[in-house]
Symmetry: C2
Amino acid sequence: MHEASSDYLVEPDPHDPLLTRRVEGVDHEQQQVTTSVVVERPLTIFLNSQEIVTAMTIGDYPDMLAIGFLLNQNMLLPTDRITGVDHDDDLDVVVVRTERSTDYEQRLRRQVRTSGCAQGTVFGDLIDTLDEVTLPGDAVLRTSWIYSLTRRINTTPSLYLEAGAIHGCVLCREDRPLVYMEDVGRHNAIDKIAGYMFVNGIDAADKIFYTTGRLTSEMVIKTVRMGIPILVSRSGFTAWGVELARQTGLTLVGRARGKRFIALSGEHRIVYDADPARAEVDVPRRNTRRA
Amino acid sequence: MHEASSDYLVEPDPHDPLLTRRVEGVDHEQQQVTTSVVVERPLTIFLNSQEIVTAMTIGDYPDMLAIGFLLNQNMLLPTDRITGVDHDDDLDVVVVRTERSTDYEQRLRRQVRTSGCAQGTVFGDLIDTLDEVTLPGDAVLRTSWIYSLTRRINTTPSLYLEAGAIHGCVLCREDRPLVYMEDVGRHNAIDKIAGYMFVNGIDAADKIFYTTGRLTSEMVIKTVRMGIPILVSRSGFTAWGVELARQTGLTLVGRARGKRFIALSGEHRIVYDADPARAEVDVPRRNTRRA
C-alpha cells in the first residue's frame, strides 16, 4: 500500500495526538462507536508588530503556515529576510519578524471572501502580481505520473484516511510526492507548503502541485505565485480558476479520479505516456476512506 | 429519479446560463471534450453606507446572500427592519438598508479566517451569541428521514451534478427538502438560506439543515444561530464543531452516505425507525456525478 513514503520530505502524521481527538458517538445501527475527528484551533499570525489574521488550523507547522500565508498574501516578499519566527503555543500566536519594516493597515481595511477561503486577501492586488510571473514552458506532466501520484498520495497514511474532514496539498516532482501537508482549510495546506519551499529554498520550476480541493481562482493564484507550472486536483473547476490558469499558462488538471482526468489549461505540457486501459490506478480516495 | 421537486420552495437551476460556463479541454484519453464549470464572481456587500465584505459567489440570490451573511455575522439583528435591498449586477454590489444605523468599523479591523471560510467573522463574538440560543428539545430526526432526504437531495438536478466543484445546503422538514441553495463556498449557501428564512419568516424549530460540507465550528455556529436543532452532512467532523454542537445541544450527524451515518452530538433526538438493511438508499453522490 504505502509505497511512496521513502520519497517524502514531509508527510502526514496521522498518529500525532495533537491533531485528532477520539470522540464517542452512535452509528446508523444505533451502536456506540468511537471515532477520530480532526482538531481545528486558532492561530493568530503577526508580521512584526502587526496582527494580520487569525487562522483556524490543525496546528502543525505554524511557522510554515505563517510564512506561507504572508508570502501568498504578498505581505512577505520573496526578497525579504526573515530575522525570526516565534511561536507561542499557549497563546496560539506566531510572529514573523523581517528586516524590512512592514505596514498593512490599509490593506487589511478591505477584505475579500474567496470561494477558496483566503481571508483578508487583497484580491485585485494579488491578481496584478500574476503578470510578474512567467511559468516555465518546458515543464512536463506525464500521464503515468498523474496515475502514480494519485495512487501514492491516496495510499499514504494521512489524517484524511484517519479522520476525514481535511484537505491535503502535496508538492511533487515527476511521479514522486515530496511534501504532503494537510489542514482543515486547503488554503492553510498550500500556505504551509509555500512556507516550506521558501524556508528550504526549493525550486518550483520542476514541481507539480497536487490538491484534494477544488481548482478555484484562489488555488490558481497561489500556485502561480509560487511559480509552480502544473496544478492537479481530484476535485473540479471554477470558471474563474480556468480563466486565470489560461491567462498565466498554468497547466490545470482536475477531476483526477481513477483513470479519468480533464485538463482545461496548459494541455501542451501533458505527455500521454500511459494507456488508461492498462494504467494501475487506485480506487477513488472517497471509497477507501475508513475502509 | 427526481421525486422531491414538488416540495421545493427553492431548488437549483442547473440550466441557468449565468451560473455555469462551457469550456473546452482534453481528457485522459487525449480526446477533446467540452465540460461545464461553475462561475465564481465577486459580490460586494454593503450594510447601509458601509462596505462590509466582498464575497466570491456563483451570483444567484445576491439579496438573500447579503442579508444572510449580515445576520450570521451578527451585524444585522433579527429585530432589525430592512428598509431596502439594492442589487447592482453591473457593479456586483448589493446594499442592505436598515432602519437602525450601523457601524462595524471596529469589528472589521479584526479578522478570523475559519476553516469554514467565513471572512471578517468576529469569531469570539459569535460564539458568545450562542449562549442566547436555546434549541427546541422536542425536535426529532427519524433515521428514515435521513435516508429519504439524502436520496432526494442527491437525485435533485443541481449545479453539482452538472458541473461539480460546488457546495449545497438544504433546509428540510421531516423527509422533505424545502430550500436547496448551492454556491462555490458552503458559507454562502448557508447564508442564502439564512436570508431566505429571515425574509420569508420561516420557523427554524421544526427544520433539519443538510449540508454537503464538513461539520466545522463555523457550520455549527451558523446553524445554531439560525435556531435549527439538527445538522446533517455527508462529510465529516472537526473536533471543535463537535464540541460546540454538544455545548449548544445541536444534533450533529455526519458521514451520512448510503446507509451509514455517525451522530456525535444530540443523539437523543434520533428515532431509529428504519432498518438500514432494508432502507432504500441512493448510491453515494460522488459516484452519480456526471454519470
